[in-house]
């Protein structure tokens, strides 16, 4: 398949997803299969890129969250129609059994669903637990049957501490973990230090990682020095968000510029800002915080909200958290990079 035909296929599918037209999406996908595209390629080279595109459409304020949900539902219906009907689904040589789940708090269930279906097409017996799987539910489920591995999906870096805890919980019941999803960073750089036995940035990579999984458990890398500060910082979350909110609502010039944001939106931004800062200490890398800031800047710009709101909140955090050295250093470095 040429990349031009791929691009065409993605935009055609997007057209159906935009109208939540599952009948049209299924019909279109069937023509792709009839033209010789295998189901795995349909999942990974057409459906997955369409949803990456949708993420960007949301970020640019071209699509609403509700539309994104409708598109996800449509793709899920599409998968239910396509995968069990695929010849590979029935004929692939049997492999082991695997539990596929999203990290607790992670609502982007589609990447994990795509992986679950790719694995099914490759002969794995898959139990798919869906989005937002609480840690206790995962281990409870895993104990019930003899799984060979857990595939853990995380799309937002904010969930990394939870991912780390879930990997540890899986190890405690003797299950190896494959980590995947954008949340583990570019090249899955944060998967290995959290103790995952395998990792991948794509569905194919994850399937390969699972196939080459050994029996030995990985050990997590030593925690970065800033991990201690992360633990303490969490105690200040409530204070920080309260003071940040106060600052954003009390300052007259800001309340004018943030007119398009209601209080709930501000609390949400302040929470994400704080959590990204904390998680960057958890992994010991400022880049994580920078990536978040660049993303939030683009997201706010599309909604005509000045980025000064975030800078103001960062100042409020730096003042409040003056005795947290790594936190202050991260905030200072971020500000310097942003105003360069």
């Amino acid at each position: 398949m040429s990349s031009a035909s791929e691009t065409r296929a993605v935009s055609s599918l997007l057209h159906h997803l935009e109208r939540a037209d599952d009948v049209g999406a299924v019909a279109f996908s069937r023509t792709l299969v009839a033209e010789g595209r295998d189901t795995e390629s349909l999942l990974l080279d057409v459906i997955a890129p369409a949803h990456v595109k949708i993420g960007r459409l949301w970020q640019d304020n071209d699509w609403s969250v509700a539309q994104e949900h409708a598109a996800t539902c449509t793709s899920e219906r599409l998968l239910s129609a396509l995968v069990p009907a695929s010849p590979a689904y029935r004929t692939a040589a049997k492999r082991g059994s695997v539990l596929v789940a999203c990290v607790e708090g992670e609502w982007h269930g589609l990447p994990a669903r795509l992986l679950a279906d790719v694995l099914r097409l490759r002969g794995w017996e898959v139990t798919f637990l869906g989005a937002n799987v609480p840690e206790g539910a995962l281990t409870n489920y895993a104990q019930g049957s003899d799984y060979d591995a857990v595939a853990l999906s995380c799309s937002l870096p904010l969930r990394l501490p939870k991912a780390g805890a879930m990997i540890e919980a899986c190890h405690s019941i003797d299950l190896p973990v494959i980590a995947g999803g954008a949340g583990f960073g570019p090249d899955s750089r944060w998967a290995r230090p959290l103790g995952a036995e395998g990792w991948a940035t794509s569905g194919r990579g994850a399937a390969t990682a699972l196939e080459s999984l050994g029996t030995a458990h990985a050990t997590p890398a030593p925690a970065p020095h800033s991990r201690d500060e992360y633990v303490n910082l969490l105690q200040r979350r409530e204070d920080a968000i309260r003071i940040g909110l106060h600052r954003l609502t009390e300052h007259h010039h800001l309340s004018l510029t943030t007119g398009r944001l209601n209080r709930d939106h501000m609390v949400e931004i302040l929470s994400h800002l704080f959590d990204s800062l904390a998680v960057s200490l958890y992994v010991g890398e400022t880049t994580l915080f920078m990536r978040f800031l660049h993303w939030v800047r683009a997201m706010l710009a599309a909604r005509h909200v000045p980025f000064a709101t975030v800078l103001e909140a960062m100042t409020a955090y730096a003042t409040l958290l003056y005795d947290y050295p790594a936190t202050v250093a991260t905030l200072r470095q971020a500000r310097a990079e942003l105003t360069e």
Partner: protein
Amino acid sequence: METTGTTSTKRGKEATTGTLDAAIDGVDEAVVICDRTATVQSVHGTARQLVPEIAPGDDIAQSPLAPLARPERQTRQHRLRHNGLDLSAKSKPLRDGGFACYVTETASAPWTGRRRAEFLGEATKLLNASLRVERVIRTAVQLPVPRLAAACCYAAIAPDGSARWWNWYPTGQRGEEVTTGEWDSATVSGMGWLSASTLAEPRAFEPWPGDIDGILDDILPAEAPRPGALLAVPVRAVSGVVGVLLFIRTTGQAPFDEDETDVLREFANRAATAIGSATLYQYQAHTAAILKSGLVPAPLPHPADISLGAAYRCAHEADRIGGDYYEVTETTEGLGFLLGDVCGKGAEAAVLTGLVRQSIHALRRVQPCPVQLLRLLNDVLMETIPEKFTTLILGRAERNSAGGLDLELASGGHPCPLILHRDGTVTDVVLRGMFVGALRQAVFDSVALTLAPGETLLLYSDGVTEARRGVLNGEMFGEERLRDLLAECAGLPAEATAARLEQAIGDWLGGNRHDDIAILALQPRLSRPEEGR
């Protein structure tokens, strides 16, 4: 005859090499021969017991014998601790530029005091790492090898006298696994050491003809050294002896001394506890899974003309069962649906939800009218469990000629359903009514209404509106936010609406504890997908 001469010389050399290899294999040291690039050429002697990881082709610098990778002219004794063994190792250069490593076990401390405590501590930790019986047993047979035995076998005795066995005899090959199989009752009864009724204490014995002959191939493959000292230790659970651990040493190895017997007896006790816990857990988990399967919400049906969406989160997330419940059933009288919330939490509440749902199932057969059904259910609950009650919305939906749905709803003390209209406005369906199962003379409310194409009916439990935010003193989500959120869902399929609400509430909670949450959305299915836009 040069050719012949060469051939015979070669043959002679081969024979010599073979004899030499066999001779080296007989020594009591581990011998590892490496070439000039420090690549392992061959392994001999007790290598498979002392350093079973090393195989020909390995880089010695990346192996447990890494300190020997650079042989010095002055031979130096290295002390290594590996797999719990204290090893003494040295390497000597060979003429071809390669070198040979010699490894022996240091005459070690007796199995008492710290050594004993360390081994048992590690064993306990690893044995308890899993709650799966199979894994626990695999761990149990691997732990004593090679420190205390060359091989270890666990035989679990079945009630019919047969036995399932797991055996670990590492030979240093890559990817080796514990072997497993079954012995029939005749085989088992032929082996005195395996007889659970007679085995009360650890029993050391020599391989008597007949005693282990029948199972020899299972515990020591043909090419392995022959068994020497053997020790059988009963594995005792609360219910009595459930199996036997057989520790095997090969000829030339010392018999089990008193300290070793004692540490292995204690090891068997700990293995018994771990195997017992895992067995009990598996049994209970299996029972719980069967019980739970009737209490978790059943998957939604896919009726041709009605689109459905639901979300469900329990307060006790790990259990996946709680006091909220919903159900949608296709009946001859249209689509029957319900969503409710029983008093109480967790498993106790879940059992009551099962009773309510089953009662409705049965009663629907004789009474399709929702409000009449509520009255009947009220009687049933009053008679069976008068101290418990539930709030509940019961409904029936039927497609009308305009492509919409004719609805009949009845409520017993439940939060009012909401209707999302095509233009994004949200209205209440005002329904009063008392708790179901609390009062014999309870009064319930009912209403008939029509859902136009593109409109959505939302049923929810109070766990939604009472969800407390993760920050800022746990502000409640409230009805107003729910209405605003629902308004954003105009034009969405019912399942996307349910998913949107579930996520928004999850984000609001931010990991906070919460009550059970149930959401059910229902709308006329659009005949053509474009129609909604």
